[in-house]
């Protein structure tokens, strides 16, 4: 009994620590519970799709896919086109998704290919890859669009004649998903349709894990060599996991942006990787293991912390600017903390493994 409790604590040390910090900070910040709850509902519906897209690469042993930024960029390109063509409403979003899918598939294949060449260093490589493709995206969107790529809607083009503006108003598709089916519970508004879509994704992930492909990925994640010798096409499957993740990320980014209603052409996608990964790490996931509760729980914890820390910082020290920096510090510090704790946990697990192995050998057990 005591051992089970201890194990639970160790396994979930990260979310527990963060939860304690948050609970301590809420009263300091002075934010009302009602406000927080509504914010959480909104942010869950906005971010879940993106964070959930991180799960499959983790299963396949690719680590935390910072490359979801690539998917986000594909989604944004889709949105740029439908804004240019003036397609509105539900049709607009669906068309944006359709446009972005081939782009995200291509980027996913590219990303998977690059990551395959950097085995053992996938996470840091995916960070750099995100930066790199961001540069290519800028090349296309800031210089190509309106130029080599014909655009008709003058409103979204910069005054120099080519290149997309920094911020695009998405009011044509604003909250289309969110408002499609809405439930009002007391003072809270719940975007049912969006949540249904997230639910479908969760079901998909659960189902996927049980398919042969999902099992293959799991095998690769546990031990690449053994997977290879049992006939699994390791390289291709790894790429496939990244492709799926990237496509999901592009849809997720579209869902995210339709909720916000404005797209910062050159910034919206940058933080997405950082924040989504911070969220899933805080939810207790590791580079080797991630589940749906990690994703959803993590979003709640991360966003609570995200909202509360600037306010708490302001109340404690008295400057909103400091509160902002404090929030940045906490966001990155938490990722560092989560990674450190994860590594520490790994060490403990390895030690326990070795202990068990030694005991087995000493007691003369069979192999």
């Amino acid at each position: 009994m005591e051992n089970k409790g201890k194990k639970f604590l160790i396994n979930n040390v990260v979310p527990i620590v963060i939860l304690i910090l948050i609970v301590a900070a809420i009263p300091i910040s002075g934010l009302s519970n009602g406000y927080l709850i509504q914010e959480m509902i909104t942010r869950l519906s906005r971010n879940s799709f993106l964070v959930l897209s991180l799960i499959i690469p983790v299963v396949a042993g690719m680590g935390l896919n910072f490359g979801i930024v690539l998917g986000a960029m594909a989604g944004q390109i889709g949105l740029i086109f439908i804004t240019d063509w003036r397609i509105v409403g539900m049709e607009g979003i669906l068309l944006a998704v359709i446009i972005s899918i081939p782009i995200s598939i291509m980027l996913g294949v590219l990303g998977g290919y690059i990551l395959n060449k950097a085995k053992g260093r996938e996470m840091i490589t995916s960070i750099i890859m995100g930066f790199f493709i961001n540069g290519v995206y800028q090349l296309v969107v800031l210089y190509g669009m309106g130029n080599i790529i014909p655009m008709t809607n003058k409103k979204i083009i910069l005054s120099r004649g080519y290149g997309i503006r920094n911020a695009i108003d998405l009011k044509a598709i604003r909250q289309v998903f969110d408002r499609f089916i809405v439930l009002k519970v007391g003072q809270f508004t719940i975007p049912v349709f969006t949540i249904l879509i997230i639910g479908v994704l969760c079901l998909f992930i659960v189902w996927f894990r049980k398919t042969k492909l999902g099992q293959d990925m799991r095998a690769i994640g546990q031990d690449m060599e053994i997977a290879k010798s049992s006939g699994i096409a390791v390289e291709k499957t790894r790429i496939l996991s990244i492709v799926i993740s990237t496509v999901l990320a592009s849809i997720g980014q579209i869902i995210f942006l339709q909720n916000i209603g404005t797209m910062n052409t050159y910034n919206s996608h940058e933080q997405i990787g950082m924040f989504s990964i911070a969220a899933i790490l805080i939810g207790g996931a590791t580079a080797a293991k991630a589940s749906i509760p990690n994703a959803l729980g993590g979003i709640i914890l991360f966003h609570l912390m995200f909202i509360i820390s600037p306010r708490a910082g302001k109340e404690l020290i008295g400057s909103a600017q400091i509160g902002e920096f404090f929030r940045v510090f906490i966001s990155y510090g938490i990722i560092a903390l989560a990674l450190v704790l994860h590594q520490w946990r790994r060490e403990q697990e390895n030690k326990a493994e070795r202990k068990k192995l030694m005991e087995m050998q000493l007691s003369g057990g069979d192999k």
Binding site: G63, I114, K117, A118, K119, G120, R121, E122, M123, I124, T125, I127, I128, M129, F131, F132, N134, G135, V136, Q138, L139, L142, Y143, A287, I317, S319, Q321, I322, F325, F326, V328, F329, Y332, G333, I335, A336, L339, V340, H342, Q343, W344, R346
Partner: protein, 345 residues
């Protein structure tokens, strides 16, 4: 033919390709309206600015603590020293060496703390270093706002509190290192010589017993342990040396650039340095002074030349975007070369 092939293989294809690319940039330059002399001089200046920062990566690579993505930590120590030097009103050579002198204690302190974290996460240093670096920049942002600095050249005008984002050191110690030498605005002899001295010290250090112990810890920890080396202590030493060099590196950078950049400027500084050393042929486990020199030159060269050349070719200013593509592309290239089996995620 075979001899050439062998030579290229020892040099490494990527380095050759990049070197040829850079060479072609220099050749094209005059044809697109760029002055060749200025181009080369610009490259050398950028070399001088960045070489020491790249050099700072060496100790940690040897000791097995990986590529120092936490470089911003050392940079922050350097910034502290620089800012204090300006606060004290030091100018010229005093300003420069004073800045270095005052940053060293901070570098040692930060480096020590940093190493304590890294020693507990063996195998996953690089990822964690990145975030430690980011977090430290954020904390220092808060510090820049609340530390009690008074110098009029550094504080926000109109009675604001906290330091400005950029502090000009034109009147303090800009160019201090090069001022003793001729052609100070074309060829940064001072910086190059200073780099040479430090590089020589590095090279010498790695031939000493401590240096060899450091190499052993990185190459074969079990062997090092067996010979009685305290692994954690050696790693700590390497981290502290790296941090100190980073602090010195940013001060040299600033005296050339003419500005102290605070707040979010150091955020991504690790990446160009790492790109440079990887281009120079280093790997996650091994880096020589030659790697540093060649890498910095090639990297800064491409970073200087390519945007200028392409800008003049296409008549548009795409420098920022091109820099992003080039520097990250090079890091990607280097990261995907070695298919390491190490589990250093």
């Amino acid at each position: 033919m075979d001899k050439i092939r062998n030579y290229i293989e020892t040099m490494g294809w990527p380095r050759v390709i990049i070197a040829l690319f850079l060479l072609s940039m220099y050749i094209i330059a005059p044809f697109v309206g760029l002055n060749l002399g200025t181009s080369i001089s610009d490259t050398l200046i950028r070399f001088g600015m960045n070489a020491i920062l790249v050099l700072s990566l060496m100790p940690m690579i040897y000791s097995g603590t990986g590529l120092n993505f936490g470089l911003p930590l050392g940079v922050e120590a350097g910034l502290l020293g620089a800012v204090i030097s300006v606060e004290m009103g030091l100018t010229g050579a005093f300003g420069f060496w004073g800045a270095i002198a005052m940053s060293i204690p901070f570098a040692i302190l930060f480096g020590w703390g940093y190493s304590q974290i890294l020693n507990r996460v063996k195998g996953g240093e690089m990822m964690i270093a990145t975030y430690v670096g980011f977090s430290s920049v954020a904390i220092m942002c808060i510090m820049w706002l609340i530390l009690p600095f008074k110098s009029k050249d550094m504080i926000w005008a109109y009675g604001g509190s906290g330091l400005r984002t950029t502090v000009s050191i034109e009147n303090y110690w800009q160019g201090a290192l090069n001022s003793f030498f001729p052609f100070s605005d074309k060829i940064p002899f001072g910086e190059i010589i200073f780099f040479g001295v430090l590089a020589f010290l590095m090279w010498g250090f790695f031939k000493t017993k401590s240096g060899l112990a450091m190499k052993a810890v990185g190459a074969n920890p079990k062997f090092a342990l067996a010979t009685g080396v305290d692994i954690d202590k050696v790693r700590t030493k390497s981290v502290i040396i790296s941090t100190m060099l980073a602090a010195i590196g940013i001060i040299v950078y600033q005296q050339s650039f003419g500005f102290i950049q605070l707040y979010l400027a150091p955020f991504y500084m690790a990446f160009p340095a790492i790109a440079a050393i990887l281009i120079g042929g280093a790997s996650v486990h091994k880096a020589t002074v030659i790697n540093v020199m060649i890498g910095t030159f090639l990297f800064q060269g491409i970073l200087t030349m390519t945007p200028s050349v392409i800008n003049n070719l296409v008549k548009t200013d795409m420098s920022e975007t091109l820099r992003i593509i080039i520097s990250n592309g090079m890091i990607l290239y280097a990261l995907t070369r070695t298919g390491g089996k190490k589990n250093g995620k």
